[in-house]
């Protein structure tokens, strides 16, 4: 069975979207202003020619007439805010393949067909373990002391439903009814009322960990292309038209949830349009090479690095990694592809941040909703498990393993799944306190119940 990968159709769609949006503009007559899409007013032109030079000067030092005041203020008030990037391995990644306990006598018994050969890529902190043969990028980061590995992270009585377990991780509590994300609640307390870029989803839809109850957050597909194009409208009429988005969205009030969500979204869209004006069509360039791949994951990370370098006031960012990790059948190929491209993209991102001089203030949390069962199933795949793997990447990640992977005969619960040695809420509370200098009780229910881990150096 061939599984065509998720990113493929999506990125091909986006390429076509760009190709279509520039066509069919009205004919220009002498004396008329240029229509939108081809023409730039003077302000945009200035910003665009400045483009990524912003990275050099920093947002505070450069006049930014295209940015709205809130964003500018946010950037000025705290120019070197710490940023947390959440990268989700969708589907429940198989931690026993990422770090394979090749020296464990039970490994081959449990994985007669899926056990990985000794890759030679020793995991230095636990020599029983080998990195997946395609996970060399993670190993590089680890050897440089920029990757903290949590080999068995989860929670007691793990729920084996994707949606439930993912939800728990997203909201930072084993509470199916909670409607805001753990980072969203942080932004509700510590964020600004006027800066949607503080919580940025890069997959084109709101990432649930960033769901707030009051602070604005934003979602976009990449840093390029947040442009509102209206056929047959240009010049002053277009300016007036686009200035009407927010009041129009609120024209029926916000009594209903639907109306409230439209009013809120329209307002944020109008604001975001201003904020991202400098990036519209600027053609981003990166100081390092990202993997060339049809997936949008490396491109999104490249765009994110450019935005961070340009001093945009981001705080929490979320996106999905490349790959499909719900590997019930024939897991060898898809898992290898996912780990390889995701690892190499993250390594390039780290290098990019280093080249731009912002690596000290960016930390990336890689997580998945659960691990997979230790014993393989009969379809050359693995079913849903309990504890999974998480990683923390960054110049200031402590770089030492947190938790452990015991011998498999001691590591499994009654259902044959890995037991957690670290609770995910310990990770969250520690990050909030050590990275954001924020009292975790303000975002994680019952925060004091979870032991803290030294995650940041």
């Amino acid at each position: 069975m061939s599984r065509c990968c998720n990113e493929f159709s999506r990125s091909s769609l986006l390429r076509r979207a760009v190709a279509e949006a520039g066509s069919g503009l009205p004919v220009i007559e002498p004396g008329m202003p240029l229509p939108a899409g081809t023409g730039l007013d003077r302000r945009d032109l200035l910003l665009r020619s400045a483009g990524l030079a912003l990275a050099v000067y920093g947002a505070g030092a450069f006049p930014l007439p295209g940015f709205e005041e809130g964003v500018l203020e946010a950037a000025e008030a705290a120019p070197a805010q710490p940023v947390l990037v959440s990268v989700f391995l969708d589907g429940g990644a198989d931690s026993l393949s990422l770090l394979a306990p090749v020296a464990d006598p039970d490994y081959r018994r449990l994985r007669p067909r899926l056990a990985l050969p000794d890759s030679g890529l020793v995991f230095t902190e636990d020599p029983r373990l080998r990195w997946h043969p395609e996970a060399a990028a993670f190993r590089t980061l680890h050897l440089e002391g920029k990757l903290t590995v949590l080999p068995t992270v989860g929670y007691r009585d793990a729920d084996q439903s994707h949606f439930t377990s993912r939800h728990y991780w997203e909201v930072g509590a084993t509470n199916p009814g909670l409607r805001t994300g753990w980072l969203g609640r942080y932004l509700d307390r510590a964020g600004r009322p006027d800066n949607p870029l503080q919580g940025l989803s890069l997959d084109g839809e709101l990432a649930p960990p960033l769901a707030t109850s009051k602070s604005p957050v934003a979602a976009l597909r990449g840093v390029e292309g947040y442009r509102f194009w209206a056929p047959g409208v240009w010049g002053e009429v277009e300016t007036q038209m686009l200035g009407t988005l927010a009041p129009l969205g609120a024209a029926r009030g916000s009594r209903d949830r639907a109306l409230a969500s439209l009013a809120g979204t329209a307002k944020q869209a109008q604001r975001l349009r201003h904020q991202l004006a400098p990036f519209n069509g600027a053609g981003l360039t990166s100081p390092v090479a990202y993997p060339k791949h049809r997936s949008s994951f490396p491109a999104r990370l490249a765009g994110l690095a450019a935005m961070l370098g340009a001093g945009l006031p981001l705080r929490c960012v979320a996106l999905r990694a490349y790959g499909m990790y719900d590997t019930h059948d024939d897991q060898v190929e898809p898992l290898a592809q996912g780990l390889k491209l995701s690892g190499e993209s993250l390594l390039a991102f780290q290098r990019d941040l280093e080249a731009r001089g912002v690596a000290d203030r960016v930390l990336t949390l890689v997580w998945t909703e659960f691990g997979r069962r230790a014993e393989e199933n009969g379809s050359r795949g693995t079913d849903h498990g309990a504890a999974g793997v998480a990683m923390l990447m960054g110049a200031r990640a402590r770089g030492q393993m947190v938790g452990e992977l015991p011998l498999l005969r001691d590591a499994l619960d009654r259902q044959g799944n890995l037991k957690a040695s670290v609770d995910f809420r310990s990770v969250y509370t520690s990050l909030l306190e050590q990275w954001f200098d924020f009292d975790a009780a303000g975002a994680i229910p019952n925060a004091k119940a979870y032991g803290r881990l030294q995650l940041v150096k």
Binding site: M1, S2, C4, C5, S9, L13, L14, R16, A17, P26, V27, M32, D159, Q160, S161, H162, F163, T164, P196, S201, G204, E205, A218, A219, R221, Y226, W229, A230, P231, W234, E236, V237, E238, Q240, M241, T244, L245, P247, L248, G249, A251, R252, R255, D256, R257, A258, L259, S261, L262, T265, Q268, A269, L272, H328, D329, N377, G378, S379, G381, H384
Partner: protein, 449 residues
């Protein structure tokens, strides 16, 4: 009618064009020009009857084609599956059939990402159409052995030698009972055993083929499911879920949610459950009761799903499928047909964010684009009220709330005021009329129903 039906409250208020319009949006894709008025004249009962027992399928309007005028190839060409279905939504005269098919597509959400065959996806679509308001029990039985579903949730990988829990878990969690409602992890494992036995072949050039049940692969041993013991097979697996005491409440609440955004009152839910069970799991009586419920007419509004929004704008403007762009435009807005994001389907609470808002803006602009007025050729009136009325006419004169009218009127005044030279006074009104068409389509009145 069974007595229980009478106990579900029925809307008794005025059923005018606005109420008819809301019904057409919730149970379909909005009115064509004049349709809301025509439906209002028939009254609520007759309208619901017409929607739930429509006449023969007819298609109104131009046949679907791609940019080059060629017919669609829904089984083969990428994105044409989406266009093929969108066309039925736009041109069909059985809107509730399309809407229920969309409900089942979301309910038993199967994505071609995992199936890899547009042909099998269309075959599943035909199945959803066949059972649209029929027996949910039969529908679930049919879905359980549907080839696309067997591929999507590892059904043909599930054998007695190596059970695969994928379908068993979702059958209970997402299709019939709800997460954590009345089953245990052990039930998941035992259900997986009951569901063993399906297989298929693979043929070069054809792909997966010859889907069938093979007793050799089926686990004939006794299982213990929901506390009962038996040598259960896939039919039993489904029956046990449908007859589970917590199934009717799951079914009714989930189905209700597709039509009305607030949860049903407890008494209504219980009445609907009785109606459902008494009619032996038939969907039609439940949908009829929901479509007549007062909360559909005087309750809160709903954000239109992207394909409903798109199909509706095309219907209202009288345009057919004449470009492949609707596929990626709808995907950008968060809903490409045959590609739900995961097995739980689309999230109806999350249609709007800054990215999908822009995509909906693009959809509205794309619908208006071919008919855009060229200021060099068309002289539009330099008059705010006339411009607004003309722009409304483009969409078949939908009712507009006072608030929206006020905002649009103020915008029009501001835009006209920028015309400070002669050439602007000649050309801006046409631009403004273009912009008003676009703005009306993204107003709360048209983005929600």
């Amino acid at each position: 009618m069974p007595q229980a039906a009478a106990r579900v409250p029925v809307y008794r208020g005025r059923f005018g064009p606005e109420e008819a319009e809301r019904l057409l949006w919730r149970a379909g894709f909005g009115p064509r020009r004049g349709e809301a008025e025509a439906l209002a004249r028939r009254g609520l009962n007759e309208s619901v009857r017409a929607l739930t027992a429509p006449g023969r399928q007819r298609f109104v309007g131009p046949r679907p084609r791609d940019e080059k005028g060629r017919p669609l190839a829904p089984r083969d060409a990428w994105g044409h599956d989406h266009l093929w279905w969108l066309d039925r939504m736009v041109r069909g005269n059985r809107p509730l059939l399309e809407r229920m098919t969309l409900v089942w597509h979301d309910w038993f959400a199967t994505s071609n990402e995992g199936v890899g065959s547009q042909g099998l996806m269309l075959r599943q679509n035909a199945l959803f159409r066949r059972y649209w308001l029929g027996s949910f029990r039969q529908l679930t039985l049919a879905v359980t052995r549907d080839p696309a579903m067997l591929l999507w949730l590892s059904g043909t990988d599930n054998t007695k030698w190596s059970p695969n829990e994928n379908y068993a878990r979702e059958l209970m969690e997402l299709f019939t009972l709800g997460a954590g409602r009345g089953y245990t992890e052990r039930d998941v494992r035992e259900q997986a055993r009951a569901l063993t036995g399906f297989r298929n072949d693979w043929r070069e050039g054809v792909g997966p083929t010859r889907f069938r049940f093979d007793r050799e692969r089926h686990d004939l041993g006794p299982k213990r499911i929901f506390g009962r013991r038996g040598r259960f097979d896939w039919r039993d697996a489904v029956e046990l879920c449908i007859k589970h005491p917590r199934h009717p409440s799951f079914f009714v609440s989930k189905l209700w949610g597709y039509f009305i955004p607030t949860a049903p009152p407890a008494s209504t839910r219980r009445s609907l459950e009785r109606l459902y069970v008494r009619n032996r799991y038939a969907v039609r009586p439940v949908v009829r009761a929901i479509l007549k419920h007062p909360l559909l007419y005087d309750g809160p509004r709903m954000v239109k799903p992207p394909v409903v929004y798109t199909a509706g704008l095309l219907r209202a403007s009288g345009r057919g499928i004449d470009t492949e762009s609707w596929t990626w435009l709808c995907a950008n807005a968060g809903q490409q047909l045959f590609y739900p994001p995961n097995v739980a389907g689309w999230n109806d609470d999350r249609w709007l964010d800054t990215a999908t808002y822009l995509a909906r803006w693009d959809i509205a602009g794309r619908v208006t684009r071919p008919a855009q007025l060229d200021p060099g050729k068309v002289q539009a009136p330099f008059d705010a009220d006339k411009l607004l009325d003309r722009a409304l006419g483009f969409w078949g004169d939908p009712p507009l709330s006072a608030g929206t009218r006020r905002v649009l009127r103020a915008y029009t005044d501001r835009a006209l005021a920028t015309a400070n030279q002669n050439w602007k006074r000649r050309s801006y009104p046409a631009l403004i009329e273009n912009s008003l068409r676009h703005l009306i389509a993204v107003s709360p009145d048209l983005q929600t129903s």
